[in-house]
């Protein structure tokens, strides 16, 4: 059943896939000291933007370059594209300086989606590390807006320090919901933090889900994901019910440039969301 979710997405193949469309920055949110969210709308009006949770866009900064950034908005809000980005490279640093009204180039959406349909009728555990929460947020939005279709829903989220927590207000609101378990942990904390301290995998053993009937969606640094899979495995979650989102260098996002190869897979078109079984053979090997 689960194979359905990782079919490749076909955006609009008749358009020149290398040519971005211009979008306008509608809103800028500074999430943390190095992370920001942009809300974008098509600069010339036009069609609704539609995407599936887990997909990404190529964002082009005039004269600077292009980067793959996952979509982190609500898939049911068709009039706006939301991207949460960490300012770590040349392009993203320039992107962090964009203001409301500025233009940005967008190509996409590309790639595979989280298995939100396959997970219907199951418990869902979403495990995110750091900026990895961004690509998982659309899946969470989708699940919460179809809440009755799912069993227990758990969000486990780990970051570096309390000041690195993304979407803090959203998380606080979600926490008060009775139909969702949210557990946040940080690697290190000082001062007033009264929450959990420790790696996100520490949260797995006690999280309230039925491992025999759970779909896990995981995104974060590769090491974190490897240990998360171990933790889920210990808990008894079937390996084929675990999904990961991978990151590799990308220039084109449509399978032409070759950079994102991961063994036989192209992360851009076969991923970024993979069933664990697809990537298992290569995930623990070095320099694949």
């Amino acid at each position: 059943m689960t194979t359905q979710s990782v079919q490749s997405a076909v955006g609009a193949p008749d358009l020149n896939p290398m040519l971005p469309q211009t979008f306008r920055v509608r809103k800028v949110i500074n999430d943390t000291y190095d992370t920001f969210t942009l809300e974008l709308t098509p600069s010339h009006g036009g069609a609704e933007v539609s995407f599936r949770p887990g997909q990404f866009n190529m964002l082009y900064l005039y004269g600077v370059g292009e980067v793959p950034i996952s979509i982190s908005g609500d898939p049911s809000r068709g009039n706006v594209l939301v991207h949460t980005t960490r300012a770590v490279g040349t392009v993203t640093k320039v992107m962090s300086k964009l203001k409301v009204g500025d233009l940005i180039g967008v190509r996409g959406p590309y790639g595979t989606a989280w298995p939100v349909e396959e997970a219907v009728g199951n418990d869902v555990v979403i495990i995110a590390g750091g900026i990895g929460l961004a690509p998982l947020r659309p899946a969470l939005y989708h699940i919460l807006s179809h809440r009755t279709k799912y069993g227990k829903v758990v969000l486990l989220y780990g970051t570096r320090t309390p000041s690195d927590i993304l979407y803090r207000k959203d998380l606080e609101q979600l926490r008060s919901r009775f139909d969702l378990e949210v557990h946040v942990t940080v690697d290190r904390a000082m001062g007033t933090w009264r929450g959990n301290v420790g790696v996100v995998t520490n949260l797995i053993p006690k999280a309230p889900f039925d491992p025999t009937n759970t779909v896990a969606m995981v995104c974060g640094p590769e090491i974190m994901m490897r240990f998360t899979v171990l933790g889920l495995q210990k808990r008894g979650v079937a390996l084929d019910s675990i999904y990961l989102s991978l990151e590799r260098n990308m220039k084109c996002a449509v399978g032409f440039c070759g950079h994102c190869q991961f063994g036989p897979l192209f992360v851009c078109k076969d991923g970024p969301v993979f069933r664990y079984g697809q990537v298992r053979e290569f995930l623990n090997k070095r320099e694949i």
Partner: protein, 396 residues
């Protein structure tokens, strides 16, 4: 999109598109002239910088008349003979991807005006081009690049435009180069499909002429304008003998049985480290390879910042930047970069595109400045399993 041309002519052989014909050496020039008259830039082999490369030609006089090549690991030499042969050589340092999947193309230009900017692809329309002298391995290479750049959910419009405007005149090999191994890859030396016309140069008892096969309707139209006679059975036999010579000369081979599985099993084979001690990660193998399709993007701006461009350039999995993500490169050691390349060519390519990514042209062996031989490396990795399994006993 007329890219299905390649597929439609895939059954092209001696009989499927009419009987083979023959014409004289002089009529080759008529063919070139006719093509030029029809608006094609005719591109064929020429001698340049002591090698046979591809460039525009205006007559058969531009061809490497009398030149033959001698190739081995890291060595390529040309010599001129008295015999006025036109195609008595094999593939050189360049491949046709130079004209289909170009080394450098501008994929986008953007103009800035205040805070606004507009982008356009600004691709000039492709001109018609006719390739003369495409070898069987190269036909396969073009078919492979077709699958990569045209066969997926997305189509590379730049490649598609060039490809659609390309007419292919193949030439069957009459000899095997020192580094060729197409026979074992099932990609030659006979041109079987993917061409519009295919020539075999025949030199027997003072008789110097071409046998011509037609591989497409377009080829038939072009041929119709030429004074070519229907080939006799003995002409066909003569052509067969020419190609058989090439097959028999071929000194190298790759055993492709279970190759993918072997490579996947051997990601940690010590041979990769051994190769790394010899490999300079200079990227020559990937850039001479007619199927390697990887590209990088370079963004440029003018000093005022009012104009920006994006250029797509040939790239190689041997560079550090190729696998760079935030935090560093994935493949930092040259051994794993070589492993990536070889495993892709002979293993994962099959998973991705349904065939090997190698056509046995041998360019990577000739043009590796230190002469690393893929056939030897693949054999070493295959044999290392036999040693482990005890099938190869040590000589003592």
């Amino acid at each position: 999109m007329k890219t299905d041309k390649v597929q439609s002519s895939s059954e092209g052989s001696f009989t499927s598109n009419g009987a083979p014909r023959v014409f004289t050496v002089e009529h080759l020039n008529t063919l070139i002239r006719n093509l030029r008259d029809q608006g094609y830039a005719v591109i064929g082999p020429v001698v340049q910088d002591a090698a046979i490369v591809y460039d525009e030609i205006s007559s058969s006089e531009d061809l490497p008349i009398g030149w033959i090549d001698t190739q081995s690991n890291a060595s390529y030499r040309l010599t001129k003979r008295a015999a006025k042969t036109l195609f008595n050589f094999t593939v050189g340092p360049q491949s046709w991807k130079k004209y289909l999947h170009k080394p450098s193309v501008r994929i986008l230009e953007a103009e800035k005006n205040g805070n606004e900017f507009a982008v356009n692809d600004a691709q000039p329309p492709a001109k018609k081009q006719a390739f003369l002298g495409v070898r069987a391995c190269e036909l396969h290479a073009i078919a492979i690049q077709d699958r990569v750049l045209l066969g997926g959910p997305y189509v590379d419009p730049i490649y598609a435009e060039l490809r659609t405007n390309t007419l292919i005149v193949a030439v069957n090999c009459e000899k095997a180069g020192g580094t060729c191994f197409c026979a074992s890859m099932g990609t030659g030396p006979r041109a079987e499909h993917g061409y519009d016309l295919a020539l075999t140069e025949i030199r027997e008892s003072d008789h110097h002429y071409f046998l011509i096969e037609t591989g497409s309707a377009l080829g038939a139209t072009v041929l119709a304008g030429l004074p070519a006679e229907v080939a006799s059975e003995s002409d066909i036999q003569a052509a067969n003998r020419v190609i058989a010579t090439a097959t028999h000369q071929m000194g190298r081979k790759v055993d492709m049985s279970e190759m993918k599985e072997i490579l996947y099993r051997n990601t940690e084979n010590p041979r990769w480290q051994d190769i790394a001690s010899r490999c300079m990660s200079c990227a020559n193998c990937t850039l001479v390879c007619p199927t390697c399709f990887c590209t990088t993007i370079e963004d440029t701006t003018d000093l005022r910042g009012t104009r920006a461009e994006r250029w797509r350039k040939w790239d190689s999995c041997f560079t550090m930047e190729f696998s760079y993500i935030h935090g560093g490169s994935i493949r930092t050691s040259p051994g794993t970069r070589y492993r990536q390349w070889l495993t892709h060519k002979f293993g994962s390519w099959g998973d991705q595109f349904g065939s090997a990514g190698c056509v046995g042209c041998g360019r990577c062996i000739t043009w590796c400045p230190v002469g690393i031989d893929v056939t030897e490396e693949l054999k070493a990795i295959r044999d290392s399993e036999l040693v482990e399994a005890g099938s190869i006993k040590s000589k003592e």
